[in-house]
């Protein structure tokens, strides 16, 4: 038990937007009291040995346990909560609805405020849990499902600068890893093999680079270029230099992400640049951004790995800001696909 925590604003966060069923309790928008992700619970027996997946039914089977576990680990009961925060989009509607309905039920039964959190904004908030972010800031959210650049004036004032027109950065990693037969998840696999490769061996296209004030991304053409290269090598019967292709591909993705982020930071006079989402774990991306930003005196922050992937602590953190501004959701809250 952590009795002192009860004087604080305690937000329960719930996240079921995609593959992970997660719940967490965060105090005062900063202090993580618990952060439970179903797929990480070792006691799989409880769930019949099944690791939760995409299916909303899997969310349904595990969500109640995950919520209870989040409260127990935080040392609090339902009555101690200040509000319930839930991701309501974007994501798979059937999956989102599980979290949304649990949150609405709790809010109604406990007579507590309900706040609706945008999934991409919650990824940004993961940084607020661990870093003293100075504003204005620019955040790059890059994951399997999202690639977005955001301009942040404060924790609550944000503006979307650009997003991907086709594939997400993490998706490009996964698909290129698949054609190179490197396994899943693709990001870490490419990051690893690229160390032994020459990033200049192949010249892959950098879409939209060098265009001022355009913060949109595109990775579909890059993916096709890698597949074409492989196809041509195979047709000529040549050995596939996997490490070189991985390194050259990764260099192209990193160049695109770094160039756009750097441009955004420059044009918005950002003091801080934040990375968020699964791709934030890529070492080359961190290194290259660090190099580029240090030159301009900009601080780079990124969350630890467990807060880069989908989790509910970031939802509770983002929910805290909404709660403080009295931006509550009604019990008619719905899930949004986009």
């Amino acid at each position: 038990m952590v009795p002192a925590a009860k004087d604080k604003t305690l937000i329960l966060g719930i996240e079921t937007s995609c593959d992970e069923t997660a719940a967490a309790v965060v105090a005062d928008g900063r202090e993580m009291l618990s952060n439970i992700i179903a797929s990480q619970i070792e006691d799989h027996k409880k769930f019949g040995g099944v690791v939760p997946e995409i299916a909303s039914r899997k969310h349904l089977e595990t969500a109640n346990d995950v919520v209870e576990r989040a409260l127990t680990e935080a040392g609090i009961g339902f009555a101690d909560l200040s509000a319930i925060a839930v991701t309501n989009g974007p994501g798979l509607v059937g999956a989102l609805l599980v979290g949304v309905n649990i949150a609405k039920t709790l809010a109604y039964a406990l007579q507590k405020p309900l706040v609706a959190v945008n999934h991409v904004m919650s990824h940004v908030a993961a940084n607020y849990l661990v870093h003293p972010v100075q504003f204005p800031a620019v955040c790059l959210v890059a994951s399997g499902g999202h690639t977005s650049l955001l301009y942040l004036l404060s924790r609550s004032e944000t503006q979307l600068l650009g997003t991907t027109r086709d594939d997400a950065a993490g998706e490009a990693f996964d698909k290129v890893a698949r054609v190179l037969e490197l396994g899943y998840p693709g990001g870490p696999a490419i990051d690893k093999i690229a160390v032994d490769g020459n990033p200049d061996a192949f010249k892959f296209p950098r879409a939209f680079s060098g265009q001022d004030q355009n913060f949109e991304f595109s990775f579909s053409g890059l993916k096709s270029a890698v597949i074409n290269t492989l196809h041509n090598l195979e047709q000529r019967g040549e050995v596939i230099p996997k490490a070189d292709i991985a390194a050259s591909f990764q260099a192209a993705v990193v160049d695109i992400l770094v160039e756009k982020t750097r441009l955004a930071a420059e044009s918005k006079a950002a003091k801080t640049v934040l990375l968020a989402g699964g791709v934030a774990a890529n070492r080359q991306l961190r290194l290259s951004l660090q190099e580029n930003l240090t030159r301009d005196g900009i601080v780079l922050y990124y969350p630890p790995p467990e807060l880069c992937t989908d989790n509910a602590a970031m939802v509770a953190c983002a929910g805290y800001d909404l709660y403080k501004r009295n931006e509550f959701a009604g019990l008619d809250l719905n899930a949004l696909s986009i």
Binding site: A55, R165, D167, E171
Partner: protein, 155 residues
């Protein structure tokens, strides 16, 4: 009724999709297959444009479904990450397929025994040359054969 239409660039693939989108009727189901990088999402983006969807059409690989609104609702599925038929039911795909909106399903070929409803089956394969694609349309039911006839008249 089978037809093959050749496109010479991603843009042409998207434009062909747009023409299909303009011809679609309520409740239509398009099943789409082709290897990674074949241009499925480009074709789907075209279909969305033809249906009057103006917002960006991103790849639904990660989220599995993006629902757009246009002249008709447009349900854009990508089954790349799914492994068995039960998962299709878990995401509620049958409700979307029965809806008045248009469903386009990428990687439908992974589940041949599931998609037995009337539909247009479309496969995209590489042709001779890097950006050349051969797009094969197969229509069984009358409404889809009619759609295909109109598509041929237009392209």
């Amino acid at each position: 009724m089978d037809t093959v239409i050749t496109t010479n660039s991603e843009q042409e693939t998207e434009t062909l999709g747009q023409t299909v989108g303009e011809l679609l009727f309520p409740g239509a189901v398009l099943l789409l297959d082709g290897n990674l990088g074949a241009g499925k999402t480009a074709f789907a983006r075209g279909v969305a444009r033809g249906l009057g969807v103006t917002k960006p059409v991103q790849s639904p690989t990660f989220t599995i479904l993006y629902a757009h609104s246009g002249r008709l609702a447009f349900y854009h599925f990508d089954l790349y990450r799914l492994e068995d038929e039960q998962e299709l039911l878990d995401i509620g795909i049958d409700e979307y397929l029965d809806d008045e909106g248009v469903s386009l399903v990428e990687w439908a070929g992974k589940f041949p025994t599931f998609f037995t409803m009337p539909s247009m089956y479309i496969t995209i394969v590489r042709g001779q040359g890097e950006d050349v694609r051969e797009i094969k349309f197969s229509a069984g039911e009358e409404r889809y054969r009619q759609l295909l006839t109109e598509l041929l008249a237009r392209s």
